[in-house]
């Protein structure tokens, strides 16, 4: 069984390996910075389906099956499936679970769902309740737009703080056993709400939660020097700046170590996305397409993934409520085989 370090960091006792993963991305994402690194880029955002929602579900299905194939596994061998998405009542993930036939926990942490699923999946495996778990999250730009903002064909100018919901899905197979990529620690997030109610400025709303989680981990384990990368989920340009400034003000010199997944997806100038990418799919595709492979360039590498979520709903936005932010941290370690 794992232990607690400091205030609220979890230390897993058993080795939890990320055995394989796969990413599926939309057309616009495929034309972005990581275009060739995705396992699958869909031609059209409808993915041959009759609705955006079904397209999102199909992306999850593909991501999951590709990840299983890489691990030489089948869905029925999984002990658990955990995940979530941005559709109302997280239906995309539930439909994926329906096709999979494995025990399922549907989780909602908005864009932090991937990190949330990884933490709880690791807890299940560390607790000895199974050997294999899959985590999968997704988001779809058009499905999110119609649900949270406007019809997709409506001509609306976007503000500079607005982010672009990533069309994409990432699936990760967690295995209780040794492997090159291991999940060793985790920091469950607390809700932080700094009174921001502008739904097109979610980066600022989430940045405070990211700061809380990162500084908690640093205080609990005492080691910025042990870290190679801190990667937040989807703060975007504005949230990234706030997070960096706050951590620097607290005395942590994170320059050169800190990155944000939301800023890695699109070409900033050409693709007209303003502050960057966002959504459950954002950290899910960037982690798999960029950061996990990047870790393997070193012999030993430690990355703190901080999934950030803005826990609002269209209803609360219209009622003028403020946006509760959350950030879940997962420490991923890479060790070259044989070391």
């Amino acid at each position: 069984m794992g232990t607690r370090i400091g205030n609220r960091t979890l230390q897993f006792e058993k080795p939890i390996a990320i055995r394989s993963w796969a990413t599926v991305a939309g057309r616009k994402e495929g034309q972005g910075k990581l275009g060739r690194q995705y396992d699958f880029v869909i031609e059209h955002n409808q993915f041959g389906e009759k609705s955006w929602e079904r397209a999102e579900q199909k992306m999850q299905q593909y991501a999951l099956e590709l990840a299983l194939e890489k691990a030489h596994l089948y869905g029925h061998q999984l002990d658990y499936f955990l995940g979530g998405d941005l559709l109302n009542q997280i239906v995309a993930t539930s439909y994926t679970a329906r096709a999979l036939g494995a025990p399922y926990f549907g989780l909602y942490g908005a864009c932090s769902s991937l990190a949330e699923s990884m933490i709880l999946g690791s807890c299940l495996l560390d607790g000895g309740f199974g050997r294999l778990a899959a985590v999968c999250t997704s988001s779809h730009h058009d499905a999110a737009e119609r649900q949270l903002r406007y019809p997709t064909e409506m001509g609306v100018q976007r503000t500079l703080s607005a982010q672009w919901t990533v069309t994409g899905s990432g699936a990760y197979i967690l295995d209780q056993g040794h492997g090159s990529w291991q999940i060793t620690q985790a920091v469950p997030g607390k809700i932080v709400d700094r009174g921001i109610s502008n739904s097109s400025d979610m980066g600022s709303a989430m940045a405070a939660a990211a700061v809380d989680t990162i500084s908690t981990w640093l205080a609990d384990t005492g080691g910025l020097h042990q870290l190679d990368y801190i990667v937040t989920g989807d703060l975007g340009k504005i949230g990234y700046e706030i997070c960096k400034n706050e951590l620097t003000a607290q005395g942590y010199d994170i320059a050169g170590k800190y990155f944000d997944c939301g800023m890695q997806v699109y070409h900033e100038e050409d693709q007209d996305v303003h502050a960057g990418g966002s959504g459950c799919g954002c950290s899910a595709v960037v982690l798999g397409a960029k950061y996990l492979p990047m870790m393997a360039e070193k012999q030993h590498c430690r990355l703190l993934l901080v999934g950030t979520g803005a826990l609002l709903s269209p209803l609360t936005v219209q009622q003028g409520e403020t946006i509760p932010g959350i950030a879940h941290g997962v420490l991923i370690e890479y060790r070259q085989e044989g070391l």
């Binding site: 119609r146 997709t152 409506m154 100018q157 503000t159 009174g195 400025d201 504005i238």
Partner: protein, 219 residues
């Protein structure tokens, strides 16, 4: 009745006068105390023997919540200050130029239609101007259908929103987007998503003005 919570609230009230000089950890500690106190107060209210006691605790709860709000607000304000410094300024001149260009062109196009109709059919301006609106609405509907108007909107901002084409786009895009939810709850209900408020408040304004006009005897 227990009075120590009342004292604690009064004591805190004094400290809150120096809220602006407090550091963040002090404020967070205070918020935690307030939450604990809140829990005790709720329990006491629940266990009250009569209305008077209940009222007493309700009042303390209100004070407790006000204090929480005050501290939270101070934390929020300090955080929000820095958002402004890192948020990029919107390119005002560029956006205004684009709005002017796109809006102006749509109106100029409307004028061309009016002129053409007047010339062709010998109508006066008043009879001819509906033709301009109808033509613009039909063209916008098709542009929305083939997925072009949202790009114009992203470029033109208010310039493509304010002319009648913006109204048509809001109607057509809503109908298009929600067709998958069926004829009744999809297209039927959602087609009015933005057109509904526009028609409602336009109509109310005209009724109100009409009533005033009528009462004043058509002055």
């Amino acid at each position: 009745m227990e009075h120590h919570l009342e004292h604690s609230i009064q004591h805190r009230e004094k400290r809150l006068r120096h809220l602006q000089e407090m550091d963040k950890s002090t404020m967070e500690q205070m918020l935690q105390d307030l939450r604990e106190e809140h829990q005790h107060l709720v329990a006491m209210e629940a266990h009250s023997v009569d209305g008077a006691e209940q009222g007493y605790y309700q009042q303390l709860l209100e004070q407790n919540e006000d204090q929480s709000l005050m501290v939270q607000k101070e934390i929020d304000t300090r955080y929000q200050k820095q958002i402004k410094t890192v948020t990029p300024k919107a390119p005002l001149i560029k956006n205004i130029g684009r709005a002017f260009l796109v809006g102006g062109l749509i109106c100029a196009f409307g004028q061309l239609i009016i002129n053409a109709v007047m010339l062709q059919y010998g109508l006066d301006v008043k009879e001819a101007s509906p033709f301009a609106s109808i033509t613009i609405v039909i063209i916008t509907a098709i542009l929305t259908g083939i997925g072009v108007y949202d790009e114009i909107g992203r470029y033109g901002g208010a310039g493509s929103m304010v002319p009648i084409s913006g109204f048509a786009n809001s109607v057509v895009s809503a109908a298009l987007e929600f067709k998958r939810e069926g004829m009744i709850y999809g297209i039927g209900a959602k087609i009015f998503q933005i057109a509904g408020p526009v028609i409602l408040y336009g109509m109310l304004a005209s009724v109100l003005i009409g009533l005033i006009y009528y009462v004043l005897g058509g002055v």
